[in-house]
Amino acid sequence: MTKLYRCAAFFFGFFLFAIFKLRKWRMQVNVSIIIDNLLHPPVLFFFLGMIASFCKSDLKIPDPLPKLFSLYLLLAIGFHGGVELNKTGINHAVIITLGAAILMAALVPVYTFFILKIKLDVANAAAIAATYGSISAVTFITAITFLETSGLAESGGYMVAALALMESPAIVIGIVLYKLFEKKEKKEGSLVPEPYGFSWGKVLHEAFLNGSVLLITGSLVIGLVSGEKGWDTLSPFAKDIFKGMLSFFLLDMGLIAAKRIGDVKNTGLFLPAFGVVIPVINACIGIFIARLIGLSQSDALVFSVLCASASYIAVPAAMRLSVPEANPSLYVPMALAITFPFNIIVGIPLYFYIITLFWK
């Protein structure tokens, strides 16, 4: 156990050293884009968090400071997206993109549910499926910064709208799947007094009006309404210090992700493999659809990242209430400790590499 941690610590130390070395050669090698992503300060702070956690350091960003960073990121990204959308307007292409986003958010939980049911019970399969159908805003934000740092074109503001629209449907689909396939064996469940039981009203409320969905949608609308003039007002707050706040939040994500790796260690190979393979598949489907509907390279990257990412905030909160039989120490660490780091470190540049092949 502690040996494992030491190994991990060594590995990361070596890793940092290696990317430092690699940097010198990056002109010659072709993987320069991956290296550049890894050398991006916010991603490095994610590593720092993981290292601190593996070393069992007492470094900690105490509650509720991480909430400050996550609220800030949602507000800033929503507002920025709204301002961009104000510039381009809501045209045909935007509506098609948003339609594709909703489709993917509904499709992913269905097909993954049946894969998961091979090894897991209905409750856990439904909860994990919903997790992978929904999205992670921070993965999205990291993809946006990846585009910026690489000097590529900005993605459209409507991709933020896509982000907001993809958060909820997966929750509803996940619960529908659970209700459909749940075996009626446990009849003692009726002991639970009615008023404290399940209600679709609560589910829909939780899915569409939870804090993060509302904040990002609301900020988007505010950006849309206040436009260029509003942007001048808020940009020092919403843009200039953005990457610093992201660095801080990723530092905390690294601390937490590393702590959670232990949870999936003992569940065999199926779930960790799922957490790496499914995002890649989802990203590829996303890229395929993006090509089909004619998105730009930047939009395609962001869209594929949305498809590939898994939710560790909104969905788990909803599942705790609606599918209490599912085990949160399965679906949270999978999204947080496997898929999130994978997307941040390997996924984003990988998906971009695939896109460059197809858009040429």
Partner: protein
């Protein structure tokens, strides 16, 4: 003034707090005190709080009530506790109060 009362203490997942409060309001207890963001260990393993996901946090609720109310709470808890976990304990307490309770 001195009154003999029951002290009911419940520790459970913070997401269940709303349900427990509804239950207490329904039973009609005169008051309760809640401590949020309590951590701990129990049948479902360690729940040491989690800053990003807001999961794995407990809340502690204390209710001072009469015997009948305590009984009702215990019964209701027995039925919902199967689903949510947590712990519920009852003990005796003496309530000290002023001559005429504030209106």
């Amino acid at each position: 003034m001195i009154k003999h009362r029951k002290k009911v203490e419940i520790v459970t997942d913070s997401v269940e707090i709303k349900t427990v409060i509804e239950l207490l309001d329904e039973i009609g207890v005169s008051g309760y005190t809640i401590i949020r963001d309590v951590i701990g260990k129990g049948g479902r393993g360690k729940r040491m709080g989690d800053e990003v996901t807001d999961l794995l946090k407990n809340s502690y609720i204390m209710v001072i009530c009469n015997d009948i109310e305590a009984h009702k709470i215990a019964e209701a808890i027995m039925s919902i506790k199967r689903k949510f976990g947590g712990i519920c304990i009852v003990s005796d307490a003496i309530v000290i109060s002023g001559h005429s309770p504030a209106p």
